[in-house]
Symmetry: D2
Subunit: 339 residues, 4 copies
Amino acid sequence: MPVRCAIVGASGYTGVELVRLLDAHPAATLTHVSAESAAGKPLSASWSGLLGVDDRLVEPFDVGAIRAAADVVFLGLPHTVSARYAPALLDAGLTVIDLGADFRFRDAATYERAYGIVHPAPELCAEAVYGLVEKNRALLPGARLIAAPGCYPTATALAALPLVEAGLVDWLIADCVSGVSGAGRKPGPRNLYCEVQESVSAYSIAGAHRHRPEIEATLGVPVTFTPHLVPMVRGMVATVHVRPTRPVSLAELRAAYRERYAPHPLITVRDDAPPATADVRGTARAVVHVALDEALGVITAVCVIDNLGKGASGQAVQAMNVALGLPETAGLPRIPLLP
Amino acid sequence: MPVRCAIVGASGYTGVELVRLLDAHPAATLTHVSAESAAGKPLSASWSGLLGVDDRLVEPFDVGAIRAAADVVFLGLPHTVSARYAPALLDAGLTVIDLGADFRFRDAATYERAYGIVHPAPELCAEAVYGLVEKNRALLPGARLIAAPGCYPTATALAALPLVEAGLVDWLIADCVSGVSGAGRKPGPRNLYCEVQESVSAYSIAGAHRHRPEIEATLGVPVTFTPHLVPMVRGMVATVHVRPTRPVSLAELRAAYRERYAPHPLITVRDDAPPATADVRGTARAVVHVALDEALGVITAVCVIDNLGKGASGQAVQAMNVALGLPETAGLPRIPLLP
Amino acid sequence: MPVRCAIVGASGYTGVELVRLLDAHPAATLTHVSAESAAGKPLSASWSGLLGVDDRLVEPFDVGAIRAAADVVFLGLPHTVSARYAPALLDAGLTVIDLGADFRFRDAATYERAYGIVHPAPELCAEAVYGLVEKNRALLPGARLIAAPGCYPTATALAALPLVEAGLVDWLIADCVSGVSGAGRKPGPRNLYCEVQESVSAYSIAGAHRHRPEIEATLGVPVTFTPHLVPMVRGMVATVHVRPTRPVSLAELRAAYRERYAPHPLITVRDDAPPATADVRGTARAVVHVALDEALGVITAVCVIDNLGKGASGQAVQAMNVALGLPETAGLPRIPLLP
Amino acid sequence: MPVRCAIVGASGYTGVELVRLLDAHPAATLTHVSAESAAGKPLSASWSGLLGVDDRLVEPFDVGAIRAAADVVFLGLPHTVSARYAPALLDAGLTVIDLGADFRFRDAATYERAYGIVHPAPELCAEAVYGLVEKNRALLPGARLIAAPGCYPTATALAALPLVEAGLVDWLIADCVSGVSGAGRKPGPRNLYCEVQESVSAYSIAGAHRHRPEIEATLGVPVTFTPHLVPMVRGMVATVHVRPTRPVSLAELRAAYRERYAPHPLITVRDDAPPATADVRGTARAVVHVALDEALGVITAVCVIDNLGKGASGQAVQAMNVALGLPETAGLPRIPLLP
């Protein structure tokens, strides 16, 4: 019998990507959809691409209804709302996978500093598993509460993990670019067509972005993190630089990346050239490339993901698969939309 | 046992879309890939998104090898090349599905006028089935040679078929827009980024486009056809106008469209508003909308498709499914990539 | 002494384009800028591209201040707001050029039907000059109140005027595409990046768009008008079709277009191929092409403009130039931003 | 009498941008245009946006004809071609401004290593002035041979110059993004619409890009330089990071940037937030922002330019202005195309 899944918050970008992924999942089925603003209307009123394909009604949030319909619930909600909803959902026996930031930190204090708010359920932070499968695979089976990592932290961690774990890093520089879907569906200066198209900008620089503490918590090293917004819908590049704590050769680096990611089916290591975000569009895959500037002794590594795929909904499904003992890549598209 | 498929011409846009669709097809498997220019190299050298996912070698064109590996062969080739390859492939007992124009006309003379070339295999034209499933469903089962329709003819026909079949049309105006992937992968003035981005133009107007005779052959009425190129990768809109030969009501029109397309799982009829190409991106679906300007007595209908989906590779797979008795939508994504 | 100009409503797209054009105008100078929402802040807070170039403060709307500072006032305001502001500005002796729709109709009743609102100053409608210079050149010198035409009406009229004036048209089909800036700066479903990018849709079809009555009023023939939104910032194509009331040759048509537009410096007639919107980006120019499908006897003509140039602010400056006796093209860029 | 200018190589992106700038220049006039491939045809055959505006014929390259027509000649040519043409043009008494790389290095050996070719006129390298006005203003008046800097070196240098000159830098990390026009007009994998749209990639990383030696020569410090290609036509961001050699405060940094760029009219220093490339689109301006991560003691500075403006043709005109004693900003648009 397939795993029954609910989505709370299906009218946003991560929510509809979950709808798409679960629709094609061979071992899971979407049984319940709720969204505050859209309740009472068909899901296709929020997403016209679902018209004639998935015309079910969006329901109001109701723990009892979710419990009756589902085994697993994905939360695509604003910060603090997830943490307010989670306790009752867990008490009802559901597996909770949160796509927001509320449970990404083991201690609530770091979260509260980063987001400038009071955590509504700090007692759950220590239990939650940070769902970066390539780091926390062993912790996921049987987990009740999973925090899907942020998009920038995912891309940056995948670019840098082999370096950090080899003890090569005492300072990481991470310059990242993101497609506009990362700014969410709520209108604002960062997602109006005419102000984003044909323009690129850095933002929240010099440590101001909320993903910086998440990256540092994941990697355990200080990080200079600079996000940039670029005119595309989906896609993210993390370009990281390290002056290693000891000399290394390119051959060693390549071997370390290959070995590190060999057990992980969604990570491809590419030696010949840096990847492009189009290589992973619509998938939950990441492609990683490492290079060495021998003249300067500086390592540069690049990781590309789809910010809504491995950076959000795809990773959430991957984490569910691992948590429930399903095949890790079940329901996750292998091949990107090319071109 | 799954249907074994080959692709000849896998380095172009329609070819790689076939690779993507067949990879996820539950009842078909891609067993052989050839492409003239790319032979001897991995397919992922042409399409880096396949790296680590499908690294098979591209083979040179060889009828014997295709025959040994496959039951069905898809041709993604330049005009006249398909017609040169087809006879031997048919003689070898393969089902041939051509994505080019060589077999779209029942008589070679129309083809020769439209394309200004001599048809290399005119004797096959009468046998070939024009693979617009929603028109020729009954002709497909068991067909040996199928011509996948052009993108503009598909979108225009789906917008206008219910009107034409009701005898309402003596002149059809079809204004269409296409994404840039319709211009192919060979570099030219219509696919250079800096000359296409932030620009729209009509082209091949006043009857000059080669798809015009195909549209007229499909619909059997004179057509004023005007294509436009717009800055996006995938997507096509056909907007058609008709001054009907007798008065009709909007209710009648809507009923006619619903009834006409009810048996066809890939066509959605939408009443409330015209659809957007994003509603079908990456799918083989079409969404159709009909409206009536009561003041002028003019019918306007709109159809959106993905030019590489229902407009090319998706339709080719749909036609294969119907030809071989597989479920019609097998292997075809239901939900578009949103956003 | 340069003409002193004020802009009321400078925080929108047409407003900032006026700032750009007037900044480079050799015979006009921008002396006053007001905008309701942005008052009290520098104009560069609304438009960061002005930072360090034009950091003047935006003022609240005040007729006395405008009168003291300016001879001409451009209104970039929502519907009905222009008509509420105009009487006092005219009484103060200013020349008023409205970029909105309030004064585009000679009778208020048509406006009220089209826009579904009550006209706040119907007595001014008859006096206002519709500022399509290529049609109303003779009416502009000395005009007190000028209505800058809508973007779709401008492009459609320029495509069709020679045909209409030759008595060839009893029904015009106009399929138009617009860049997203035409949807304005107020966030909504038609200007969110992720929902517009890589998507095209028709909207307000079958006579529902408010520009349809304006086009019919300008051309005096019934029009089937269908607008489409395409993923670019600036640019508009009008593609019009006519089955002429009497047979014509292509040579006649070309001659008619050349002759019609010979006196008009901003209109280029191109014979060899349809133009692209990139050909006029950032300018107030239009390029027009006419073609004849001899098999069907159908005329197709195409006009491209920049919807913020000839379709709005550029045309407003052109109209001011003609109204005040300045050189018609003063301050208007000749060469588009290429690529 | 205006300065008479010639362009050799007007069919590329930098060439047509020069045509646009010189057309509006109050003290210069374009008197001669040549381009190898386009000779004998109107310039508007290469650039349809010039049709009806500048229909002059493109001439074959001829030193005598250029000498007769012009005082200054701009070269928009492939590498080594400029260096082959330059000696005769200089001998003829022309001022030569090269937009290519041939004269950007004071010693030919560095050029030869970076570009892997033999320099055809090494004797001219020492004489050529590197036309970064904000660095070499004093060297330009009267210069015979000017090398317009590369786009990446310009953006990176403007971001970092105040830090380098203050002795704060012993290692600079520069992550840059470029619009696609930087890849030129010759078709290739980096400028095909469908392969660039909706995709970002790093390329030529770990010291492999030819602009790296140019950046190091300009700044005199080792640089980790990583370029990225993003889906837009024009625009460039340089984001640079420095761990300063001594502690500095944000106030000191801001003061240093303001002071450094105060004499330079095309540079805007912005304190409140990082700029966007749209802020300078179509202009020759740069906007610079400096920030300090106090927790890590790391400086991040950002510079945006238009890669065809301050990054190429605009800077070439600026350099000409300074070289000839014209007002520095003559002919250079002040306000970007917004939105």
